[in-house]
C-alpha cells in the first residue's frame, strides 16, 4: 500500500553549512516503527536524487519518535554563499514529506496507516 510520509509524520529542517538536517517525527508511537524500517537512508537519498550533491546520514531518536537525516550538499554552498531561495534549508522538511512509502498491506492495515490518495 502506498502511504504518504505527510500522513505519518511532521518534520522540521535547518542548516549547518552546506548540509540540511531534516528531523521527521511520527504522529503516533505505533507509527515510529514504520519510519524505523522503511524510511532508510537509501530511500531518502533516492527521494532527493538530483536535488542534493552529497550523501545522506541517518540517526534515530526513539525517545522523540523521530529520525534525523543529514542531507549533505543540499544548500548550494550554504549560508551566505548560497543563491537559493531556501539557502538555510528551512523547507527541506516539507520536501521530505512528499516522499511516498510502499508498505506491505498487512503491516499497513495492522497499523491503520492512511492510504495515499490515488
Amino acid at each position: 500500500m502506498k502511504v504518504r510520509l505527510l500522513d505519518l509524520a511532521h518534520a522540521r529542517s535547518g542548516d549547518k553549512g552546506d548540509t540540511a538536517n531534516v528531523g521527521v517525527i511520527a504522529f503516533k508511537p505505533e507509527w515510529f516503527g514504520v519510519l524505523r524500517s522503511h524510511l532508510t537512508a537509501e530511500r531518502v537519498a533516492e527521494h532527493f536524487k538530483g536535488e542534493i550533491t552529497g550523501p545522506v546520514q541517518r540517526f534515530e531518536l526513539p525517545n522523540l519518535l523521530a529520525v534525523n537525516f543529514l542531507l549533505h550538499g543540499a544548500l548550494g554552498g550554504g549560508g551566505t554563499l548560497s543563491l537559493k531561495t531556501d539557502a538555510q534549508g528551512k523547507v527541506f522538511s516539507t520536501a521530505m514529506l512528499r516522499l511516498v512509502l510502499d508498505i506491505p498491506d498487512g503491516e499497513a492495515q495492522a497499523l491503520k496507516l492512511p492510504e495515499a490518495p490515488r
Binding site: G14, G23, I25, L61, P62, L64, N68, T80, D86, S93
Partner: protein, 455 residues
C-alpha cells in the same frame, strides 16, 4: 537554593520580535531573561560595522530591549543574559550603562562583561604556532583565505557567565558564547551545579536548545496541526522552569497565544540537529536520545532523563571571510503560460550574460511558485499558475561583473517575453559575500575574561 528558576527567552535571533523581551518580563514571574542575538554570520556583519565605527559592532536591538525591561530589572530583580556584545562587548556595555543612567536605574544595574572569545588579534600568532584552523567541512587550512578573514571568535561556554553572576552582575553581556550556555549558565549558577555534573549540565544545554530560537518551540513555525495553533498574533515566548535535579518544564505566560506541547518541543529539538547522541558544547556533550518529554497540563511540557558526558578538548571557532559578491534579481510573469514565459526570460538572460562575456562562480535560476524550494520534487506545475516569479542570482569574485548583471534584468520588461511586472523595487543590490569558516581550536588557547562593573 531556590527550588525553581525561571529562564525566559526574549529573542531567538537578531531581528526577532521587538515586543518579546518586554512581554516576557511583564507577562508573569521570571528570574532570568535570555536574549540570543548571534547567528553564524552575524559576527562578520558586526565586524564590518566596527571597522567603520569603533563604537559599534554589537547588536543594537539589545539597547532598545534593555530600555523596555529596565523597570523589571531594577524593581523585581529580573536578570538579563545576552550575547548581544558581538565583536564589541565593551561598547555594548557602555551603551547599556548610558541607557541605564538615562532611565534612572543605574544604581540597580551591575554589568557583567564576558570577553576573550575574539581571536582575530592573535590569528597570525596562532597559525604560526601550528594551529591550522582547518575548515571543519572541507578540511582546507585557514591560510588559504587568511588575507580575507574579517572575524574569528571562539564559542565560549557557561563558565564565564556563571562567574559574572556569582560576582553580582544582573546584566551579563557576552560576545560569541554558545546560544545554549545563555540558558544553562543561570541554572548552573542558581543550583550550584559542578563542572562535572554531566547530566545536569546536559539538561541545561537541552533547555537552552529548546528556547534559543524563541517562539519556534511555542507554536511558531510549527507544522503539526498548524491551523489550530491559537492566537499567533499574541504568541507567547518560551519559559524554562528549572529544578535543582536537572529536570525542567517548558511553558509560556498565561493569556498568550501559541502552543507548548510535546509536538512543538519535538520539532524544535530536531532543528539543526546533527548526531543526536553527541550534541557537543564547550561544557558537556549532551545525548539528545536520552530526552524524555511529557505533556504536563495545558502549555506545559516536562523534560527529564537527560544524560551528558565530558566535552572534547576543543572549542569551535566561528571565522568569517570575504568571498566575493552576489546579487539576486526577480521579475514576475503572469497567466497565461506564466511558467513558460519565465523560463524563456531566464534563457534569454543567460544568453545575454554569456554574450557579454560575464563570468561567475555560479548563476542560479529559480521559478518561485513552481519549483524554487522543492525543485523537481514539486512535480509538474499546474498549467494555470496565476503567476511565476523568475529569480536569478549570480555570485563571483569580480564586483564589476556582478554589477553588470544587475543592469540586465530591467530591459527584459520591454525586450523579453510578455506579461511581466514586479520590477518596482529597481535594480538588484550587489552584496558582499561574507562566508563562514567553522574550525576547532585547543581549549587551552582561549582564556575567557569577566569584568563586573557598575552601570
Amino acid at each position: 537554593m531556590k527550588p525553581l528558576v525561571r529562564v525566559a527567552a526574549g529573542q531567538g535571533f537578531w531581528g526577532d520580535w521587538l515586543e518579546a523581551p518586554r512581554r516576557q518580563v511583564e507577562g508573569g514571574p521570571i528570574d532570568y531573561l535570555m536574549l540570543d542575538y548571534l547567528a553564524e554570520v552575524t559576527m562578520s556583519i558586526l565586524q564590518k560595522q566596527k571597522e567603520r565605527d569603533p563604537a559599534m559592532g554589537y547588536a543594537r536591538d539589545f539597547i532598545g530591549a534593555m530600555e523596555s525591561v529596565f523597570p523589571a530589572v531594577a524593581a523585581r530583580g529580573v536578570k538579563v543574559i545576552a550575547n548581544a556584545g558581538g565583536v564589541n562587548p565593551d561598547a555594548c556595555a557602555k551603551a547599556v550603562g548610558a541607557a541605564a543612567r538615562s532611565a534612572g536605574v543605574a544604581a540597580q544595574v551591575k554589568l557583567g562583561i564576558v570577553t576573550g572569545d575574539d581571536l582575530l588579534p592573535r590569528l597570525d600568532a596562532l597559525l604560526a604556532a601550528g594551529h591550522a584552523l582547518k575548515n571543519m567541512d572541507t578540511g582546507a587550512p585557514l591560510s588559504s583565505v587568511r588575507d580575507r578573514v574579517l572575524s574569528a571568535n571562539a564559542y565560549l561556554g557557561s563558565r564565564p557567565i556563571v562567574d559574572a553572576l556569582a560576582r553580582g552582575a544582573n546584566v551579563v553581556i557576552t560576545g560569541r558564547s554558545t546560544d545554549t550556555a545563555l540558558t544553562m549558565a543561570p541554572l548552573r549558577h542558581e543550583f550550584g551545579w559542578g563542572a562535572e555534573d554531566w547530566d545536569k549540565l546536559a539538561a541545561g544545554i537541552v533547555a537552552g536548545h529548546i528556547i534559543e530560537c524563541g517562539a519556534q518551540c511555542s507554536g511558531g513555525n510549527c507544522l503539526r496541526d498548524w491551523r489550530t495553533i491559537p492566537d499567533l498574533a499574541n504568541v507567547g515566548y518560551p519559559i524554562v522552569e528549572g529544578a535543582p535535579d536537572g529536570t525542567f518544564l517548558v511553558t509560556k505566560h498565561p493569556n498568550t497565544g501559541g502552543r507548548v506541547d510535546v509536538s512543538t518541543i519535538s520539532e524544535q529539538l530536531v532543528y539543526e540537529m546533527g548526531d543526536p547522541k553527541s550534541y557537543i558544547t564547550p561544557d558537556v556533550i549532551a545525548d539528545f536520545t536520552s530526552i524524555q518529554l511529557e505533556n504536563s497540563g495545558k502549555d506545559r511540557v516536562r523534560v527529564h532523563g537527560i544524560r551528558g558526558r565530558p566535552p572534547t578538548d576543543s572549542l569551535k571557532v566561528s571565522i568569517a571571510y570575504r568571498a566575493g559578491y552576489k546579487a539576486v534579481g526577480t521579475l514576475v510573469y503572469a497567466w497565461p503560460e506564466a511558467l513558460d514565459k519565465a523560463e524563456l526570460a531566464g534563457r534569454v538572460l543567460r544568453e545575454r550574460l554569456n554574450r557579454l562575456g560575464l563570468r561567475f562562480d555560479e548563476v542560479r535560476t529559480e521559478f518561485v511558485g513552481a519549483s524554487a524550494t522543492h525543485g523537481a520534487l514539486a512535480g509538474a506545475p499546474s498549467p494555470d499558475l496565476a503567476e511565476v516569479q523568475l529569480r536569478v542570482g549570480v555570485r563571483g569574485e569580480d564586483r564589476k561583473m556582478v554589477e553588470r548583471f544587475t543592469r540586465e534584468l530591467a530591459p527584459l520588461v520591454l525586450n523579453g517575453p510578455p506579461s511581466v511586472t514586479g520590477f518596482a523595487g529597481g535594480r538588484p543590490k550587489v552584496e558582499d559575500v561574507v562566508a563562514y569558516w567553522p574550525a576547532l581550536i585547543d581549549k587551552r588557547e582561549v582564556t575567557p575574561q569577566v569584568r563586573v562593573e557598575a552601570a
